[in-house]
Amino acid sequence: MTADILTVEGLRKFFTVKRGFPNPKTVTVRALDGVSFTVKQGEAFGLVGESGCGKSTAGRAVLRLIEPDAGTIRFAGQDVHALDQSGLQALRRKMQIVFQDPYASLNPKRLIGKTLAEPMQVHGLAKGKDLDQRVAGLLAEVGLPQEAARRYPHEFSGGQRQRIGIARALSVEPELVIADEPVSALDVSIQAQVLLLLRGLQEKRGLSYVFVSHDLGVVRWFCQAVAVMYLGRIVERGPLPRMFDEPLHPYTQALRGASPVPDPKAKVQMMRIEGEVPSAANPPSGCHFHPRCPHAMERCKAEYPAWKELGQGRGVACHLFDQ
């Protein structure tokens, strides 16, 4: 039995935004509305869903890059929400993040060597010659040449920049990495390179991941367990690949059915789901998915289904599984 490295319970984050012209109205966006999940030591845990479902907010709230309104986050037994500034800084050595757009998250005027050295200096991990050696070691580990240290971000391709982003996250030797759509901006051949690198690091360093993605194929290959989110809530959770082979929640089934497969014979099975993703500012009553759900019943319109644990790590929030 492996230990849990991260436990998130009842995470909530509402954003208040002013919208409209010329008379702005205040609306509340329920980005996270009671999200709970657990990441085991050494596991890659996927968070999937469509735009606006709250998956990125969840990743950031875990690091307290966005302060959650409610809920508990425990990292290796430590209550993340209760930490003061210095405690938080110490914690961020253990938890790091890799962003989708590596260009936007690298300082364009700073040499790569400096970008990689700075986190180690901030955390007092190394200095002088040792620091240079560690930078060299990081570059080698992510498959970049040593000269990269003396170059600027614009001199690299997208895939190489993502390697730099990964090296920066690794510089402080974290135990958990939040990877927020790390391969979405990359071409498929480069995407595979980066996925293989992340997988290698998981094995070599015993890293755990929270892997945020909209691509079910990537999640199936990379993750050991997954949670599907819809409008700020987890609708289904379970181990992979079983959960994508036998999805229970109608939304998971729809996502699975709509994900294109590189096989022309599979196209007849492509499932159509009507309607659009509603706004998290104004989610439908009852189960948020009911207006698009082919199995919607009367009670789905009135009542949000309770979370049901089905054993073996599987859980679902749907009235179809009430018995």
Binding site: E50, A192, G217, F222, P241, V261, P262, P264, I273
Partner: protein, 329 residues
């Protein structure tokens, strides 16, 4: 092929000027598009798939680019010979194009009803009110819910999927013979992508259009295409009917691409990455452009550029490879 192709591209070479020198972004493209056929151009960023579409549309920016060679035959005319006015009459009427990001292709200060009607008023001799009625009909055709109420809405009031439907409505307003769709679903969520793909397939059938569908996503291509052309570094490296291509990927690049996709429908322990990256157009290798990344390369691959040749026993499956096609092996 009994029927003449709707669109025929021969030897198309489109160049861009970099540092005072002309470099080919698309080189010696040959393809034909049959009536009611969907041809997918698939490849990674920078392979020239969008440049091909822009060349057909006459939209290559003149300051830095040019169609250097080749013929693009459509309805008895060679498109690069046409002047600006003739091209403008053709675009949006006989050939239309939709783009990846609908918000940047729609005018934010004009209502969508106006923008769809504008296409009709430019190309057809009809009154404003007739154009508006026709615009409404086409918006209903692309399944915009309560289209009549939404005619006077602005683009920002629509979601991404609905904006793409508006773009499709504008493109189809004059019932073009050929639709060029450049990554039309890439910016959309998967459930919305599925809806738009189904819509495009239905409309193509109904209007009897031909379509060139540009995508980097082999899953999407498998869903919508009749025939596929895989592009690499400005050239078609393999082309075949969709079933044949996915059953028997022959060019090492096509094969490597397919093995680098993590699939949602099956568990594959291994994922293969293609080492290295696409060469920049100013530094294309001699010989086969894929050779530096290819696991099968032989001496000839680095010396001479392979031709696009039919595979043995087929008339529809072509590959540009010394090792897997052609006589050099």
């Amino acid at each position: 092929m009994a029927e003449a192709p709707v669109l025929s591209v021969q030897g198309l070479t489109t160049e861009f000027r970099i540092g005072g020198q002309w470099h080919a972004a698309v080189r010696d493209m040959d393809f034909q598009l049959a009536r009611n056929e969907t041809l997918a151009l698939v490849g990674e960023s920078g392979c020239g798939k969008s440049i091909t579409a822009l060349s057909i549309m006459g939209l290559i920016p003149k300051a830095a680019g040019r169609v250097a060679r080749g013929r693009i035959e459509f309805e008895g005319r060679n498109l690069p010979d046409l002047d600006d006015l003739e091209m403008r009459k053709l675009r949006g009427d006989r050939i239309a194009m939709i783009f990846q990001e609908p918000m940047t292709s729609l005018n934010p200060v004009l209502t969508i009803g106006f923008q769809v009607a504008e296409v009709l008023r430019y190309h057809r001799d009809i009154s404003a009110s007739e154009a508006r009625e026709k615009a409404l009909a086409i918006l209903e055709e692309v399944k915009i819910p309560s289209a009549r109420q939404r005619l006077d809405d602005y683009p920002h009031q629509f979601s991404g999927g609905m904006r793409q439907r508006v773009m499709i409505a504008m493109a189809l307003a004059c019932q073009p013979q050929v639709l060029l769709a450049d990554e039309p679903t890439t910016a959309l969520d998967v459930t919305i992508q599925a809806q738009v793909l189904v819509l495009l397939a239905e409309l193509k059938q109904r209007f009897g259009m031909s379509m060139i569908f540009i995508s980097h996503n082999l899953g999407v291509v498998a869903t919508i295409a009749d025939r596929v052309a895989v592009m690499y570094a400005g050239e078609i490296v393999e082309t075949a009917p969709v079933g044949e291509l996915f059953d028997r990927p022959t060019h090492p690049y096509t094969e490597a691409l397919m093995r680098s996709i993590p699939r949602v429908d099956r568990t594959s322990a291994e994922l293969f990455a293609i080492p290295g990256q696409v060469p920049p157009i100013s530094r294309m290798p001699q010989g086969c452009r894929y050779a530096p990344r290819c696991g099968l390369k032989q001496a000839i691959c680095e010396q001479q550029s392979p031709p696009l040749e039919p595979l043995q026993g087929t008339a529809t499956h072509f590959a540009r490879c010394w090792v897997r096609a052609g006589g050099a092996a």
